[in-house]
Amino acid sequence: MSPSEPAKKLTRKDFTSDQDIRWCPGCGDYAILATMQRTLPTVGADPAKTVFLSGIGCSSRFPYYMNTYGFHSIHGRAPAFATGLKLTNPELDIWVITGDGDGLSIGGNHLMHMLRRNVDVQMILFNNRIYGLTKGQYSPTSLVGLRSPSTPLGSIDMPVTPALLALGAGARFVARSVDTMAKHLAPTFVEAREFRGTSFIEVLQNCPVFHDGAWNHVTDKARAGSTMLMLEHGKPMLFGDKDGPQQGLRLKPNSLELEVVTLGEGGITQDDVLVHDETNRSMAFLLGGLEPPNFPIALGVLLREQAPAYDAGVVAQVEAAQQKGMTDVDKLLRAGHTWTVE
């Protein structure tokens, strides 16, 4: 919708392209897509100014299905294309879509550099802990021991934790959500979109074909209360089963380690529970690495740290130069020593 036309309320349909979707039945990608298509109209997004840009992988087909501008690039390089595009037109709202293979294996360096530069885009990493498109090889997030076509005896590589990698690279907005948890995923998208700088979102995604249940230990409905910690800034980090929060995270006294405590046990009260501070990078480092069975996984915004966006800085330098400096090419060519031949 062009902003020059009378504002019309857009709906999911306006964000849905006419392309046939080519994911396997039951793939977690469908849910993420649906949430995106439903969420964008609610925040007044303009399809003409919205761009989805991806690498290669099942997840990277996402742009085809959004009725916005879309760019299905090459394996691992989406952040670099996005950076060039954003520097060219900072008005665009750019979403980079990647997978655990695309973004962390071949594309790890571009991801890291986009994060440290803090280019104002949203990056969603669909983490299914497997290479889907190439039929099931293990990925940098696969756990040790995973048997896959390329690791028939079990993988040996120690996995990388996307959130920690992002934090180590200097990311300033780091969040995590789950493919099918639309109610959690939608606001995460919205907050990422509002953040000025690179917002990094890891979405736990199920690949029913090649790594079904990779996240069952997190999402298993029966235990979900104790396997997920829903972060809220300024709120104590409580979790527990369905009858209400009963457990919490506490900093071990005089140390730098977290422990799970149960309210009411051993005199523990809510005051002993650590309060989430999304501006605290050290806390984010601690939270980023937690995973069941010993800890719940931390979902929501792990870190939100305001910092100048790279594109803004680049544009400001160019604009300042344009105001002060030379703009006439004829002058440029004639600057310095010249002489006339008659």
Binding site: M1, S2, P3, S4, E5, S17, D18, Q19, D46, P47, A48, K49, V51, L53, I56, P63, Y64, T68, Y69, G70, F71, H72, S73, I74, R77, P79, A80, F81, A82, T83, G84, L85, L87, T88, N89, E91, L92, N109, H110, H113, V314, Q317, V318, A321, Q322, K324, G325, M326, T327, V329, D330, L332, L333, R334, H337, T338, W339, T340, V341, E342
Partner: protein
């Protein structure tokens, strides 16, 4: 000119080649470029060739730390920095041992005797001093203790010896300026400006400069040694400046940005000898230029492609190893059919090779170095100043045909300089880029223009033209992904036809020197231009039936090349590689073209091409 014409009459020379050589710390590049500047102001035609050591700062006195600067100037058309120097300035033994072999027999050799210490002689590999063993008797040697004279000249400024010695290159410059009837004022002005904040240094340098000049004027130089005069050249009238290839390239890109109305976005990663294009453009932000030093070459080209999709003129600059890394992404740009300029400032290969030396060995990589049938346009600049025009030509083709264009230059063009007649922007044809903006139901991003086969350029942000592009094959009509066999065949043929069609917008291939038929045709491309031209001219002066064709457009070749090739009994193709253009010509035109190959990291000497011409004529 009254500073120096008093005492002696000057012998007139048509052209001279001088090489300044010394330690990297001796300031030879400054000496050379100031001499060049003054010479240009005096109206000579000229060409230069700086030759840096590979090391940043090699230990003083070593042979691999020698830095050289050669200038060729004259009253006639000068096209190359000269084969062999007439004058060699050797600031230390290392400079002497590495450069002496090039000096013409009987040439003038200026030696800074103060630097010929035991230690320096040993570092250079001399067993005994060449100044004493008679080994220099074939040359006209001027032994001068330049160091001592410099120290004396700057004494009054109270600098320490180390600082004082820094001015010895200016003393030398002063002397050489005098020898060839050049003024020192332009250098004085330069020094005053450069050291505006350090007046003591400026004054010491100026004193050394003047002292060297005065030494020539007053001292008795051995007989048979200068002074000389080199009259003005007959250059076409106009305003001139000196320009290096990399600056010309950067400025050409900025000009192209204005001629096309497109923002210039450069994605680049430093690499010798391309880095200075990035540096130049980073200084031109006032022209709306965005420069992005990416984390590597791949990100650099990807950022440029992203920029192009966003409606900018996306450019990436690099050298051979960088082009190799960019191959996959350039292939994507071929598939996306977006304008993109890839500049390859070639250097010696393979692999890391000879990073600071020049070569033309990326041609086949440029043409074929991608997976799949992945045609793009390849053009090449012939001289430093030509880099300006070829940058514009690259942009014109990229925008008109919606295609990546590979622009080849090399280390020799990049750092070499020539006097350049400054064009006026108003005289350069515009080629304004057109974005589609009309809202279209079901916009088809790959529906082509009949004439050029170019697809429309619809940039994100345009309401109603939302579409998706990518590296998978797409349907000829809708632009959607297509796995259809016949469609792929058609698209492959169409991509090839689009590139072939570029020849329609390029003038017919011209003969550069000579007639359109004859015994021998010399075909070149890129920076061999000057050497070939001189060699062909000399051969023609000697009555030989030789002509020259120089290619600026290589993929596709300009129309008419075929006829030209068939008009000669023999075709030779000098290249600074092991035979690349010659492969393409043989395959395309089935002519028995023969390569003349020099793979030494050094430009051709005119004489080398003359020899090749002669032996080709002998074997007709």
């Amino acid at each position: 000119m009254d500073t120096f014409t008093k005492s002696q009459t000057r012998e007139t020379l048509e052209s001279v080649v001088i090489r300044f050589a010394g330690d990297s710390g001796d300031g030879m590049q400054l000496t050379g470029s100031q001499f060049t500047h003054t010479t240009a102001l005096m109206g000579n035609d000229l060409a230069t060739f700086p030759d840096f050591p590979a090391e940043i700062r090699a230990p003083a006195g070593t042979t691999y730390g020698v830095s050289g600067f050669q200038i060729h100037f004259g009253s006639q058309d000068v096209r190359t920095p000269g084969d062999a120097p007439d004058v060699l300035v050797a600031m230390n033994p290392a400079a002497l041992i590495t450069n002496l072999a090039d000096l013409k027999p009987g040439g003038m050799l200026i030696v800074n005797t103060g630097a010929y210490t035991k230690g320096n002689l040993k570092k250079a590999g001399y067993e005994q001093s060449p100044l004493e063993d008679g080994s220099l008797s074939a040359y006209r040697v001027i032994n001068l203790d330049i160091q001592a004279m410099t120290i004396a000249a700057v004494e009054s400024f109270g600098l320490g010896t180390k600082d004082a010695l820094r001015s010895k290159n200016l003393w030398t410059l002063g002397l050489v300026l005098w020898l060839f009837g050049r003024e020192y004022e332009p250098t004085v002005a330069y020094l005053e400006q450069k050291f505006a904040k350090k007046p003591a240094i400026a004054q010491a340098n100026i004193a050394a400069l003047k002292a060297g000049h005065a030494y020539g004027e007053t001292a008795e130089l051995p007989s048979g040694i200068g002074p000389y005069e080199v009259p003005k050249a007959k250059l076409s009238p106009g305003l001139y400046r000196n320009i290096t290839g990399n600056d010309a390239l950067a400025w050409g890109l900025v000009a192209a940005s204005q001629l096309s109305g497109l923002k210039l976005v450069l994605g680049s990663y430093p690499i010798t000898p391309a880095s200075t294009v990035l540096h130049s453009l980073a200084n031109l932000k006032s022209f709306g230029v965005t420069t992005f030093q990416a984390e590597d070459e791949i990100a650099a080209v990807c950022a440029a492609v992203g920029a192009s999709w966003g409606g900018a003129m996306g450019v990436t600059t690099t050298s051979g190893p960088g082009v190799a890394l960019k191959a996959e992404a350039i292939g994507l740009a071929v598939m996306l059919e977006l304008p993109l300029i890839v500049v390859d400032v070639q250097r010696g290969g393979p692999s890391t090779g000879l990073p600071t030396k020049t070569e033309q060995s990326d041609l086949l990589q440029a043409a074929y170095g991608r997976n799949g049938d992945s045609p793009l346009c390849v053009i090449a600049a012939a001289t430093p100043g030509d880099c300006f025009y070829m940058a514009i030509e690259a942009a014109r083709i990229a925008v008109k045909y919606m295609t990546p264009v590979m622009l080849l230059t090399d280390g020799y063009l990049a750092n070499g300089a020539e006097p350049w007649k400054i064009p006026a922007m108003a005289d350069l044809p515009q080629f304004k880029a057109k974005f589609v903006t009309e809202r279209t139901e079901g916009f088809h991003p790959y529906l082509r223009e009949d004439e050029t086969l170019a697809r429309p350029w619809a940039i994100p942000g345009t309401p109603g033209l939302e579409h998706r592009i990518g590296g998978l094959e797409k349907n000829y009509d809708s632009g959607n992904i297509s796995y259809d066999p016949d469609n792929h065949h058609k698209m492959t043929k169409t991509r090839a036809a689009k590139i072939a069609g570029i020849a329609n917008s390029v003038p017919e291939q011209e003969i550069e020197v000579g007639e359109a038929t004859g015994d021998l045709l010399v075909v070149g491309w890129g920076s061999t231009y000057g050497a070939i031209t001189m060699a062909v001219r000399r051969a023609r002066e000697a009555g030989k039936s030789v002509s020259q064709v120089h290619l600026r457009h290589i993929v596709p070749f300009a129309r008419g090349l075929d006829t030209l090739l068939r008009g000669f009994k023999r075709v030779i193709v000098p290249e600074m590689n092991n035979g690349m253009l010659v492969k393409m010509l043989r395959s395309e035109f089935l002519v028995d073209a023969i390569g003349v190959n020099k793979i030494a990291g050094q430009p051709f000497k005119v004489a080398e091409i003359e020899n090749a011409i002669d032996s080709a004529l002998e074997n007709l």
